[in-house]
Structures are given as structure tokens and as C-alpha cells.
Symmetry: C2
Subunit: 157 residues, 2 copies
């Protein structure tokens, strides 16, 4: 991690531990490693991918701990689960007051790009209103596309 990120990371981790403490939960080495790995990778990641990364630092960490920690992150607003069309749940870091965003997914390389468009949101809000007395809870927009450029430039690292 670069210097600039480390500052954010320790603040972020501190916030996480505060929330846990408020809930009567504990700080552990595993949670720290998983948390820092998750935020330093900073992309839509699957449990397998995250576990593999975590094990380069802490080799004996089990699947269950990663699942349990991700669930904690979600419950406390540090991550969001994403269910794309490939049967793997992926997790998306969520900054404190970051707002919901949508996705463009390359079907070749699985690269995920984010967007957030007010025109679309406004129109969808109108559509919901037209349906009647509904309270919109969540909005999910996924665009699946293929890079037309030969040899897709966005290969996963």
C-alpha cells in the first residue's frame, strides 16, 4: 500500500473496530487482514479471490472466517454484495457516504465499470410512481457488453 492509502486505511479500520466494539464484537488479527486486503484491492471481488489474497498474508485463514467477516462488513455498511449473472457473489467496498452506483460489465474479461446517472434515476423514479404507492428501496442496473476492440484492454490483472 502507498503512503496516502495507509492513512485512509487506518482511519477506515479504526471506524470498523469502533462499530464492532459498539456491537460488543471483538477486534482480531484475521478481521484486520481481511479488512485491509479487501480495501486495498478495492474492486468487485469474490470470496475465493479475497481468500487467496488474504492467505498470502495469513495462510491458515478459513473460508468461514472470510464469509463471516464479509457479512459483518455488509451489515455495518463497509461493503455491498453484488449478484451478477455468473453465480458468484462479489463484494464492493462502500465508502462512508458514497452513493449507490450501477455497473457496466464486460462479458469477456468480467471487468466491472461503474456509473451513476441522474437522468436514469429520475426516469426510474417516475416509473415507480406510475406503478402506484411504492417505496423504492434499491435500484440495480447492469449493462453487459463486449469490448469491440480486438484483444480486450481490460484484462483482470
Amino acid at each position: 500500500m502507498a503512503e496516502g492509502e495507509s492513512v485512509d486505511m487506518s482511519k477506515l479500520l479504526e471506524r470498523f473496530y469502533e462499530r464492532l466494539s459498539e456491537a460488543g464484537l471483538k477486534s482480531t488479527r484475521q478481521r484486520e487482514v481481511i479488512f485491509e486486503t479487501f480495501f486495498s484491492l478495492n474492486r468487485h471481488i469474490s470470496v475465493d479471490e479475497l481468500l487467496a489474497e488474504v492467505r498470502t498474508t495469513a495462510p491458515h485463514v478459513g473460508y468461514a472466517t472470510v464469509y463471516r467477516t464479509l457479512k459483518l462488513l455488509v451489515e455495518h455498511g463497509f461493503a455491498r454484495p453484488r449478484h451478477f449473472d455468473d453465480g458468484q457473489t462479489r463484494y464492493d467496498p462502500q465508502d462512508e457516504d458514497e452513493h449507490e452506483h450501477d455497473h457496466l460489465i464486460c462479458i469477456d474479461c468480467r471487468r466491472v465499470m461503474e456509473f451513476d446517472d441522474e437522468v436514469v434515476h429520475a426516469r426510474l423514479g417516475q416509473i415507480v410512481r406510475d406503478f402506484g404507492d411504492y417505496d423504492l428501496t434499491r435500484r440495480k442496473i447492469e449493462l453487459y457488453a463486449r469490448c469491440r476492440i480486438q484483444d480486450c484492454p481490460h484484462r483482470p490483472q
Copy 2:
């Protein structure tokens, strides 16, 4: 089934059997029951729900047959799979030249409503173009909402 539906149903079934025949596949009693049940229910249905319905007509039909038949329906353009956020794949009847549509899902009763809005599509097309040289393959929009009316009127039957 009402009379009007029966006519469509037999035409539809005939088309299905034609496609199967072209692919060197066979017509069977199970496929007929599953097909007709699927189209007469005509809603976003899970495998469990469909199997339960099918078994009221043909009690000994197995899970595997329903899964295999739904896969056939998808491959031949008679159904579309939907992956909502509850871990169950649901299937959506697809009429011959029906176009893609989007969904508003009640998080209480799981009722699914459909919509299809040109303003949204146009704007999303623009967003993809702004990202660069992408070829849009599929678009998925899901709105999750709660009926604000006390005692949601859209309970599944």
C-alpha cells in the same frame, strides 16, 4: 386454461416440438406437462414452484427433468432465466418476438411487475457509448420496492 389460451398453447407447444425435432430431440409427456404448466402460469417462477405445479398433474416428475426442460426452453428461446437477489433462479416465459423488459419487484410479496421504457434505454445507450467502444449485449434493470399500502395487495396466489 381458458379456451382462448388453449389455442395459443397448442400452437406454442407445436412450435416447441418443431424446434426439438429439428435438433433431433424427442417429444415426451413430461416435456408437454412442464411446458404447458410453465406457460399457463405465465409468471416469473422458480424451479420449486414449477415442479410443485407440475406434480399436481404428473406426480412422479423429478427435479432433474424440470431443470433439463427449463434449460431446453431457454436454449430455444421460449424462456429467459432471471437472477434476482434471493438466490433462486426464476424463469420468465418469452413470447416469440417479445422484447426484453425490466422489473419492479416488491420485496414483501415478491410480486414482479414488468416495464420497458424508451427514455431509460436511450440514456443507457448513451452511457455505454461514453465508455468507449462497447457492444451492448444485455441490459438488466431491477427496482426493489415495498408497497406502502398496509397489507400488500399483490400476494402470490
